[in-house]
Amino acid sequence: MALRVGCAAPPGRALDNKTGAWRVFKPVFDPETCSRCGMCAMVCPEGCVHETEEGTFEPDLDYCKGCGICEEVCPKKSIRMEKEEK
């Protein structure tokens, strides 16, 4: 008989937790000035910045916590933090 100890959770189940609700400021991306370098997607601690079909980038606001790291690293200053209207 297999002895079952501890607890197990299905992979990626954290997606149930929509951390976008934590946000105070939200990042607004400007596709016009974006150089498509991909830095924002590389450094987002939530992994919630995605490439669009046009090759520019946008955040998944279901999960974005509004930390501002993407704004800080964007070499083109294409991202601006804006107070969230709730």
Partner: protein, 303 residues
């Protein structure tokens, strides 16, 4: 089952780290480097707590948590069993600096002595953050924590220097030891790839600023990591078979530029400047620069 559906993110969103958390970015980058063919053993600490509040988990790969102190022993057992079964998964430990520099040293030393084919990653946020910012062996000299507050006995804050953990593991005969920083994500990813593909026990210590524990704005996490490197207070280097083979060169800035931006060093500037302590910290950076030869000389810079 809520499968990982977000593109190729193996470390999923929805975890409960503070916004701007350095260790959360390190976890994402780690899985980018390892891919799916990996088993992660995690010590207790912020990363374990924010990524796996039961029944949620952000990990899209097999992951096991045991205790604060024994992650290297757990990984040793997993590796021995996989080897016996002829399986190919890589075994990676991840632990905070408290888990690595202090409480887990016995198990890490044992695993490295026995020569298990594991990679140990220490995400270094320079204190015990999950329990409220206590000093660890990785806390830098001069930093204020709840257990090293500036006071009558130690006006400078933490009186002890950071322990040289990479040297301790290199002395165990580890074939590959490296330091990295989330300020250079590609470099960290490449170092993890190299470590997991090097047979034997390898060690990577990745600098992961913690906005909550260090006291800076969440958007500045990468900027802070970069300043640590630019001042020489953190050096990115690689050691192969105990010898330093590569270190990132910089045009060094004064340490004050790094210190003045963080609340954990505020006592060095207010109410009165502590030039003595700041000079001691500058001396640490100077010694790092000397030891690793990281200064870009004027001639080189004009090339």
């Amino acid at each position: 089952m809520a499968e990982v559906e977000q593109g190729c993110e193996l470390f999923s969103a929805g975890h409960r780290a503070c916004g701007g958390c350095g260790p959360a970015l390190a976890a994402r980058l780690l899985l980018k480097a390892t891919g799916k063919n990996v088993i992660i053993a995690s010590a207790t600490g912020c990363m374990e707590v924010f990524s796996t509040p039961y029944p949620e988990t952000a990990w899209g790969v097999p992951w096991i948590h045991s205790l604060f102190e024994n992650v290297a022993a757990v990984a040793s057992g997993i590796e021995a069993s996989l080897k016996r079964q002829g399986r190919s998964e890589k075994v990676v430990c991840i632990g905070g600096d408290g888990a690595t520099f202090d409480i887990g040293v016995l198990c890490i030393s044992g695993a490295f002595e026995r020569g298990h084919d594991i990679t140990y990653i220490c995400y270094d946020n320079e204190a015990y953050m999950n329990t409220g910012i206590q000093r660890s062996g990785a806390t830098p000299y001069g930093a204020s924590t709840t257990t090293s507050p500036p006071g009558a006995c130690a006006p400078g804050g933490n009186p002890l220097p950071k322990k040289d953990m990479p040297a301790i593991l290199a002395a165990h005969g580890a074939p590959y030891v490296a330091t990295a920083s989330i300020a250079y994500p590609n470099d960290f990813v490449q170092k993890v790839e190299r470590a997991i593909n090097t047979p034997g026990p390898c060690y990577i210590q990745v600098h992961t600023p913690c906005c909550t524990g260090w006291g800076f704005e969440s958007g500045e996490t990468l900027a802070m990591a970069k300043l640590a490197i630019d001042t020489g207070l953190w050096v990115n280097y690689e050691m192969v078979d105990g010898k330093v083979v590569k270190a990132k060169k910089v045009r060094r800035k004064p340490v004050e530029e790094y210190l003045a931006k963080q609340k954990r060093f505020r006592h060095l500037f207010k109410p009165a400047r502590r030039d003595d302590v700041i000079a001691n910290i500058q001396a640490i950076a100077d010694a790092n620069a000397e030891r690793f030869g990281i200064d870009i000389k004027r001639k080189e810079s004009s090339e």
